[in-house]
């Protein structure tokens, strides 16, 4: 069972929820798809970590064979190719690895090569397998790393997918394989606005979903209102608490220290399982 944790807004508590959900599941796989800023490993502190670099395909050109015909330059819709002094130049930052230039070159001057954009790390934290994608600084997109992570997710055990913020293509890639989406909401106007966007995305992909209301304050909660108005089930609520904040700041998995939070996350996991059986 794959549970994706997302929120739209950053800092709502995605990593907090995903890490602690994986911890109470005991045997689970935690997958950090927030490859631009992966943080789950800071809390889970996996051991025996091995690393594998992730590459994308980029073209390489044989200047001897290149006739400067411009076929590839005119074809490339990403403006990743240019012609200088009759020879082709490639800008790998703009390249989407479509392979068009290699396939279309009439002089067979282009060939496939690889360019490293980041890595995948895998380790073990107790019973939790920790898979982390990491994008290199200066690279434009982590989507190929997310795809690589998706290919490594186990089918049987509980798999918790920590998604990036926002609602653009990296989030879509991250929830693609999910059986269930947990939306984490914070009780601010920003949090609610972005929760609505995240909800729109999961409904677009027809994923079953429920909400975790995080950092709840006394009084009216605009996130609860949104859930009521949109028919989104509230699975659990966590109050705003300075001690929880301190544990998160220091990089501790809160369920290991707080019996209250352990009970909350056990209840949350049970509810998600129940929802999935419906």
């Amino acid at each position: 069972m794959k549970i994706a944790v997302l929120s739209g807004k950053g800092g709502a508590g995605k990593t907090f929820a995903a890490v602690n959900l994986a911890c109470v599941a005991l045997e689970a796989c935690y997958v950090d798809c927030d490859v631009e800023e992966p943080n789950g490993h800071l809390f889970l502190k996996p051991l025996n970590v091995w690393t594998q670099r992730v590459s994308v395909m980029v073209p390489v050109f044989d200047v001897e064979k290149c006739t400067g015909c411009r076929v590839c330059v005119d074809f490339c819709r990403y403006n990743a190719l240019a012609l200088a002094r009759g020879k082709v130049l490639h800008f790998k930052e703009a390249c989407h690895s479509c392979g068009g230039c290699v396939l279309l070159c009439p002089a067979a001057a282009a060939d496939y090569s690889t360019h490293e954009i980041g890595m995948i790390r895998e380790g073990k934290s107790g019973g939790v397998r920790v898979l982390t994608g990491v994008l290199d600084a200066g690279e434009a997109t982590g989507v190929p790393i997310i795809r690589e992570l998706a290919g490594r997710m186990p089918k049987e055990e509980i798999c918790v997918i920590d998604c990036p913020p926002g609602s653009a293509c990296p989030v879509m890639e991250s929830i693609k394989e999910a059986d269930y989406c947990l939306l984490v909401a914070e009780p601010t106007a920003f949090g609610v606005h972005d929760l609505a966007m995240a909800l729109e995305l999961v409904r677009l992909f027809e994923k079953p979903a429920g909400a975790l209301l995080n950092k709840c304050l006394p009084g009216e909660n605009p996130a609860r209102k949104l859930c009521m108005n949109t028919g989104l089930d509230i699975l659990a609520e966590i109050p705003f608490d300075l001690e929880t904040g301190r544990m998160i700041s220091g990089g501790e998995a809160a369920v290991l220290k707080s019996p209250f939070l352990k009970a909350v996350f056990l209840g949350l996991l049970a509810k998600i399982k129940e929802e999935m059986q419906k």
Binding site: G8, K9, G10, G11, A12, T15, E36, E37, N39, L42, F43, M57, F75, R77, Y78, H96, S97, C98, G99, G100, L103, L104, L135, A137, G138, E139, A140, T141, G142, P164, P165, G166, S167, A168, C169, P170, V171, M172, E186, T188, A189, F190, H193, D194, M197, E200, L201, L204, F205, L217, P222, L242, G245, R246, I248, S249, G250, G251
Partner: protein
């Protein structure tokens, strides 16, 4: 004109909270929200006038004409994005490269314009606010960010500080928002996650050769990590602009659709003002 971009790496550290306050403190007549896949600045800094909305066309997407299609499967074989299956193109996964069009022997595939979001430009007198919203699950966020900035530059008639709210992360929308900036102010969160993410966004900004400043928001929620962040700035030779305390007044104002700058004096307001004045000093000493 000076362009000040707010970034953080990690989400939810307070970029928009500070951007909203800076706009009021500078009485800025030009500002933009470049967090196109979760824009929030309009919630506290919208102008009273209606926005001029325009559809944003990203890259074209492939469409297969089922009448002409012979089911040969060649398009599926050449597509590197796994966007084609069962004789149709999934627009969410099509990255618009056009390879399938070139290889279709039946001429059944065509590229068609695709709306990837919308831009919104508010103008009230000489005040302009440029923002946008990316379509759900869409790519092209870097392109849309560039469009937001272009519309701001084209419409502003002001020579002060343009405040630009950025997006979390370190990828294409962030890189697009930093291009052409006079200074980037990183809003850090005092936690192990905040520290890790700050180091990654600083590294990214350094490769783009832009002036960097750092401040810490809600610093008292993680005093030890705040120390560590300041230490990191000293070691990296980065300007440290100050610490902003956690202050419930910020959430109260924000939920009322206002920035903290519009509230009564409060600890966060005072601290944000101090950070702002230091940023101004750096911007104009260059």
């Amino acid at each position: 004109m000076k362009k000040l971009v707010l970034l953080s790496g990690k989400g939810g550290t307070g970029k928009t909270t500070l951007a909203g306050a800076f706009i009021k403190m500078a009485d800025s007549k030009a500002y933009a929200d470049c967090d196109v896949d979760a824009p929030n600045l309009h919630l506290i800094a919208a102008l009273k006038t209606a926005a001029k909305e325009e559809a944003f066309f990203g890259l074209e997407k492939a469409v297969i004409d089922t009448e002409k299609c012979t089911d040969c499967g060649l398009c599926e074989a050449v597509c590197r994005f796994d966007a084609i299956g069962g004789g149709r193109v999934d627009a969410y996964f099509c990255e618009g490269c056009g390879v399938c069009v070139e290889f279709c022997p039946a001429g059944a595939v065509a590229m068609v314009p695709h709306v990837s979001g919308k831009t919104m430009l508010y103008a009230d007198g000489e005040r302009v606010f440029s923002t946008a919203r990316l379509a759900m699950g869409s790519g092209n966020s870097g392109k849309l960010v560039t469009e937001v900035k272009k519309r701001l530059s084209e419409n502003m008639k002001w020579d002060g500080i343009a405040v630009i709210d950025g997006s979390p992360g370190i990828g294409c929308p962030v890189i697009a928002s930093v291009t052409g900036a006079d200074m980037v102010l990183m809003v850090a969160e005092p936690s192990v996650s905040g520290m890790s993410d700050l180091a990654r966004i600083v590294k990214t900004a350094q490769t783009l050769r832009v002036r960097i400043g750092v401040c810490i928001n809600k610093w008292d929620l993680g005093g030890e990590m705040a120390e560590e962040i300041e230490q990191y700035c000293r070691e990296e030779g980065i300007d440290f602009l100050g610490r902003v305390p956690f202050d419930p007044a910020v959430i109260r104002e924000l939920n009322a659709g206002r920035s903290i700058a519009e509230a009564e004096e409060s600890p966060a307001k005072t601290a944000i003002k101090d950070v702002f004045l230091k940023a101004v000093q750096i911007l104009y000493e260059q």
